[in-house]
């Protein structure tokens, strides 16, 4: 088996439409719409849920590749990645069911593959830094916001389901923090590159300035600082992330 595989080998059923994230955002802006779902309506929540479902699918595929691609990594690393595959596969199922709950269907919105591209990093340390800490950290912010919205609109099914997924995501970020440290022990250059990769992802995923520090009511996606602390982020890292959200433009 090829290890790793080229990112364009990601296999999908025909019903999914794959597009560049930038193109999706630009076409929506051209129609006078926000580039990303703003959760202001049920339709918008459905679109966000679809985006998360696709993200979970790619996270499952990425963690699966990490099980496959690094046979020489420490055994405990493989165990953590295998556990993550299981979690993500359950998350895919949860979000497919949530789509049904919201009268949606898989393939209803275009799929972008930025998450998968990050999961194709050749170095295991970069992969856990970028995916587990960068992207799963973003997931913590997004899910925290979604739980808040679900509570606000009185949708206990959405609230409870996403709350449990959020708990898993915190565990995945912790795994990322652990393996970034352990895999780069005694190799500061490798650590520097992995963190640089994570930072580049944080910048790209600030969702055009939508993700910011602040109260759920005041910003579209609030950086979940408490959740991030729980997941092993340092104060310095949280402050650095907040700074990047003040300057970044994405896609």
């Amino acid at each position: 088996m090829d290890r790793p595989i080229a990112y364009d080998k990601l296999a999908r059923e025909d019903r999914f439409v794959r597009m560049r994230a930038r193109e999706v955002a630009e076409l929506k802006v051209a129609q006078g719409l926000p580039p990303f779902p703003d959760l202001s309506s049920r339709e918008s929540i459905k679109e966000r849920v679809h985006g998360i479902m696709v993200g979970e699918l790619q996270a499952m595929e990425g963690a699966g590749r990490s099980v496959c691609d690094f046979p020489d990594a420490p055994w405990d690393f493989t165990m953590d990645m295998a556990r993550q595959v299981w979690d993500e596969s359950r998350h895919v199922e949860i979000y497919l069911r949530l789509l049904e709950h919201l009268d949606g269907y898989a393939g209803e919105y275009p799929e972008t593959t930025i998450l998968w591209r990050c999961a194709c990093a050749e170095d295991a340390a970069a992969r856990v830094a970028g995916v587990n800490r960068g992207l799963e950290g973003l997931a913590c912010d997004v899910f925290n916001q979604l739980v808040h919205i679900a509570r606000k609109i009185g949708d206990p099914i959405l609230e409870r389901s996403v709350d449990y997924v959020l708990a898993d995501e915190i565990t995945h970020v912790r795994m990322g923090s652990k393996w970034l440290t352990r895999l780069t022990e005694g190799d500061p250059e490798r650590r520097r590159k992995a963190i640089e990769f994570q930072d580049s992802i944080d910048e790209r995923f600030n969702l055009g300035g939508v993700r910011r520090e602040g109260d759920h009511e005041a910003v579209s996606i609030s950086i979940a600082t408490d959740v991030r602390r729980m997941a092993g982020f340092t104060e310095e890292e949280i402050q650095r992330l907040i700074k990047t959200t003040q300057r970044s433009q994405v896609y």
Partner: protein, 327 residues
């Protein structure tokens, strides 16, 4: 004496068996993990995703038991080169249209053999001094029964049609030949007990393969507005007929067809079409059309916008040639 102290295996032999199992299970786990991204069908992706973690736990349990049997922890060992060849052959099926081959290798050949082997081992492992191994085997047997039943369900769903059934049989015969040549995962010959009588046990771990299939099929009919459906039909007919004039009438004013699109489509003749995806992009709609013909197939993506005089195509692209069909 209530329990016999007679045993079949020495501690050393027991450790070797566990290393042999671990070899096959570890390679299967890594293959399943790697295949998820290479497999188009959602039901098969979810099946593999659920089982990677169980197999990792089996490997871990075997690997942790090893030092208790005076062996190194977490070591895998192929029984012989022939079992390596079998695992290589199982892993070999990694093209997107080989989902059925992947599932047959793991769920119809290797796992039934592992189940029979574990049952055989359990039957011979002494209950007085081998309870730690017996406990591991009992858990593995339980999981493998569940995995095989789930794998069979997905295989039956995906392997509909005589051509696919023939592929399943051929793949199975080939791999079973390699398995027999290796003498099974331990190299000591295939166990005499059959794994065929896998009971359909109730699924309580949220990994019911029937649900995976239901979720894959849940889309149902596309919610295409009637006027767009009509325009889409006219568009697809024009593609099949190679009718550039009809095609041009469906484009937004000022949009010239990308020269590569008609060129690509003219390379082959298509006899029929089907809508295979329908997505929203704000107020616009994305429709994927699959064209099939004797020489192959092509998939075309059109972005439709609603104009004053009806739906018009704002962008058109060929996104696949000979794209994968669900197996």
């Amino acid at each position: 004496m209530s329990e016999s102290l007679e045993g079949t295996f020495s501690a050393e032999h027991s450790a070797r068996l566990l290393r042999n199992y671990r070899y096959a299970v570890e390679r299967t786990m890594r293959a399943l993990g790697g295949w998820i991204a290479l497999t188009p069908e959602l039901s098969a992706k979810l099946l593999m995703g659920r089982h990677v973690w169980d197999l990792a736990q089996h490997c871990d349990a075997f690997g942790q038991r090893l030092p208790e049997l005076r062996s190194h922890a977490q070591v895998s060992e192929a029984a012989n080169p022939a079992i390596v060849a079998l695992m290589d052959a199982i892993e070999d099926a990694e093209a997107p249209d080989q989902t059925v081959e992947r599932l047959v290798g793991v769920y119809a050949v290797l796992k039934p053999h592992l189940l029979a082997t574990y049952r055989d081992h359990l039957a011979h492992a002494n209950p007085v001094y081998e309870p730690p191994t017996r406990r591991i085997l009992t858990r593995c047997i339980d999981d493998e029964e569940r995995h095989i039943a789930a794998g069979e369900t997905i295989l039956k769903y995906l392997a509909a049609g005589p051509r696919v059934i023939e592929r399943v049989s051929a793949r199975r015969r080939h791999l079973e030949g390699l398995l027999a040549a290796a003498g099974g995962v331990t190299g000591a010959g295939l166990p005499t007990r059959s794994a065929a009588e896998v009971a359909a046990t109730p699924v309580e771990l949220s990994d019911d393969a029937r649900q995976f299939i239901r979720l894959e099929q849940a889309t149902g009919a596309w919610p295409i507005p009637a006027d767009l459906d009509k325009a889409q039909d006219a568009f697809a007919d024009a593609l099949v007929l190679g009718d550039d004039a009809a095609l041009s009438r469906l484009l937004v004013p000022g949009l010239a067809l990308d020269v590569t699109v008609p060129a690509l489509l003219r390379g082959a003749s298509y006899s029929h079409h089907a809508t295979v995806a329908f997505a929203r992009l704000g107020h616009q709609r994305l429709v994927k059309t699959r064209l099939d013909g004797p020489a192959g197939s092509a998939t075309v993506l059109a972005r439709w916008i609603s104009a004053a005089d009806g739906w018009r195509i704002a962008a058109l692209d060929v996104v696949g040639r000979d794209a994968v069909r669900p197996a």
